[in-house]
């Protein structure tokens, strides 16, 4: 007995004919934009870009109207308009990544991560001196800021999710307001409250304190979101076993949210690692390795980049790009880590 095996059809997928039409449309659009730019006085990439999207949207309108009706054509037209918006978002990102990798590449040399600028001036050939002082400085600044802001940020989040006391609404609002504090104001605040009245000198600690102000809201808000995802069953189970609220939070809720809280921490670090304005005001920015945050000027990556670009000679600008590359790689690593932990949490 013969049996016919029915091949499952997928009517929602575009048929080969539709694919061919789409491809043809794209080709015609390319030709149109080329012809228009060649034949009219408009020139340059800008003209290509906009003529291409204009023609693409127009052709989609016509094609959609022919294949179904005018409403469908309008729908196709706006899908291209939205695609234009998306493209305009992606282009700068791609260009920033490309530029930094392309220009920063030239500043990479063997001593970049092992020497500091103590014996080199920024205008020396690029192989003299390196980033050691800036990297150690940034690590110390971030570490100290983290030590202060992590407990405060997580306690704030715990207050918002676990205690839910009478201050929940105002505190949530204040955290939101704090995340809008301009970074230079944070620097001025440390300047006016600590450096002028008390220490009277620049130091790494002052920089860390300024960064703390910017970091707390990021950690608090991310941690709050994470803690809200912890199922209430766990809390109820903890209380049912006779735990006080404090013990339930410390032994059950926080361990359950651990990877999420680490994500919050990483996002906080990513927020401040490249922060420049407050660093310029309060750290002083030395050229040699300084491991003591409490005294003496401390270099850091943003300060180094800033200084290199402002000097403006060919070598110092190359140094600046190399610094930006290192900073960008740091941000990329932190971002990937946060993503990795974030998606693992969801599973």
């Amino acid at each position: 007995m013969s049996q016919t095996i029915v091949k499952p059809s997928r009517p929602w997928l575009p048929s080969p004919r539709e694919r061919a039409t789409d491809l043809g449309l794209l080709l015609v659009t390319f030709l149109t934009s080329y012809a228009v730019v060649e034949l009219t006085p408009m020139k340059g990439k800008l003209a290509y870009f906009f003529v291409f999207f204009f023609a693409f949207a127009l052709y989609s309108l016509i094609k959609g109207s022919i294949t179904r009706d005018f409403m469908n054509g309008v729908d196709q037209f706006f899908s291209i308009v939205m695609l234009l918006g998306m493209t305009l978002v992606i282009i700068p990102t791609a260009d920033i990544l490309y530029t930094v990798f392309d220009k920063g590449r030239k500043g990479i040399h063997s001593g970049l991560l092992t020497t500091d600028m103590g014996l080199a001036t920024p205008s020396d050939p690029i192989t003299n001196g390196g980033l050691l002082h800036a990297i150690t400085g940034t690590l110390i600044l971030v570490l100290v800021a983290l030590l202060i802001s992590l407990p405060i940020g997580i306690l704030t989040a715990l207050y918002l999710t676990e205690i839910k006391g009478g201050f929940t609404r105002p505190i949530r609002f204040l955290v939101q307001a704090m995340s809008g504090v301009p970074s230079i104001v944070a620097g001025l605040f440390i300047l006016s409250s600590i450096i002028y009245p008390i220490t009277k000198s620049y130091s790494g600690l002052a920089g860390s304190l300024a960064l703390t102000i910017l970091m707390i809201p990021t950690i608090a808000r991310t941690a709050e979101e994470v803690l809200n995802l912890i199922p209430n069953d766990l809390r109820e189970a903890g209380v049912a076993l006779g735990g006080t609220q404090w013990r339930t939070v410390a032994m059950v809720v926080v361990p359950a949210a651990r990877s999420g809280l680490i994500t919050a921490m990483i996002l906080g670090v990513a927020r401040i690692v490249g922060e420049t304005a407050p660093i310029l005001l309060v750290t002083g920015g030395g050229d040699t390795v300084n491991l003591d945050p409490t005294s003496g000027a401390m270099g850091s990556l943003p300060f180094y980049i800033w200084k290199s670009f402002l000097i403006g000679t060919e070598e110092s600008i190359a140094r600046g790009w190399a610094g930006l590359l290192v900073l960008l790689v740091l941000v990329l690593i932190l971002f990937t880590l946060a993503r990795f932990l974030g998606t693992r949490r969801m599973k």
Binding site: D75, I171, V181, L191, L327
Partner: protein, 299 residues
């Protein structure tokens, strides 16, 4: 934990108190002219003693508003279009990737935008400014006389726009995703196309939230220092012509003057910082209220 929770209140309060305390003398001496005049003069005699000072922020405040508004005007249409694309048009296979890219862009430090803007964007943006001036120059806002296009508020606005695009996009996307599914499906069931659904259901429902998100972007753009400082020419004169290479910005002024400032001038900078702080607080507060009111409920 309550103490931890209240720390944010403490910090915000302390910021206002200390900046106010340090800037008090200047604010009292200058009075309202601190925000209504544009001179920033420190005259010293040969010994370096200060003989005459005049501090006014008007040009900087106008410049800050101009740059930030321009950033929002450029960024919001692009961001909303991108958010609509991500929410309604993008196939799910590339959506996650694009969302990651936008999140990554939000994590870029501002110094990156600043120097990218200075070295890469500036030549193109100058060319765009000339095009706008050529074809729209009859509008008073776009007049440029003398013809000097470099480091204009327009360029600063473009850089700021690129900086706030990821913020506005992700807020808009979040708000679009809160559109009730039953209304969307009801519209589809009535034979609507995707564009009909967006126009008649999603956009009316999300309008308030998008306005709030744009204002959060505005607050961020107003407080930005480094990215503006690198691409803006600071001039102590009110300038409304956005394409002309002269502008002002409170945050950049603080950074510019800080290096050379004597203690007395630093007090004026503290006062300027206080004004900036209160201004961004106000904008963010309004934005929060709008998001809180319309964000989850719709119209």
């Amino acid at each position: 934990m309550t103490a931890g929770g209240l720390s944010s209140l403490l910090v915000l309060g302390l910021i206002a108190i200390f900046l106010g305390y340090q800037g008090f003398e200047i604010l009292v001496k200058e009075g309202f002219s601190f925000i209504t005049t544009s001179d920033w003069i420190v005259e010293t005699d040969t010994d370096g003693a200060i003989v005459n000072t005049k501090f006014g922020l008007a040009a900087m405040l106008v410049g800050t508003a101009l740059c930030a508004l321009m950033a929002v005007l450029i960024a919001v249409p692009i961001s909303v279009a991108a958010a609509i694309f991500l929410s309604f048009y993008a196939p799910s296979s590339i959506r996650n990737f694009l969302v990651s890219v936008i999140d990554l862009m939000a994590a870029f430090p501002s110094i990156l935008f600043g120097f990218w803007g200075l070295f890469v964007l500036m030549p193109s943006a100058e060319y765009w400014a000339k095009l706008i001036n050529k074809y729209l120059g009859f509008i008073p806002l776009f007049e440029v006389e003398p013809r000097f296009f470099t480091r204009s508020p327009f360029i600063a606005g473009v850089v700021l726009a690129i900086m706030i695009i990821p913020i506005v996009t992700s807020i808009s996307r979040e708000i679009f995703s809160q559109t009730p599914l039953d209304r969307i499906q009801a519209a589809y069931a009535l034979g609507a196309t995707r564009w009909n659904v967006i126009r008649t259901v999603a956009i009316p429902y999300s309008r308030g939230g998008i306005v709030g998100g744009s204002m959060l972007g505005l607050g961020r753009a107003m407080g930005e220092t480094v990215a503006v400082y690198t691409v803006l020419n600071i001039v102590y004169q009110i300038n409304w012509n956005v394409l002309f290479g002269a502008g002002g910005n409170v945050a950049s002024l603080i950074l510019l003057k800080f290096g050379e400032a004597q203690p007395y001038e630093v007090q004026a900078l503290m006062a300027a910082g206080l004004i900036l702080f209160l201004l961004t607080l106000l904008v963010n507060f309004t934005a929060d209220q709008i998001v809180a009111r319309y964000g989850s409920k719709g119209r």
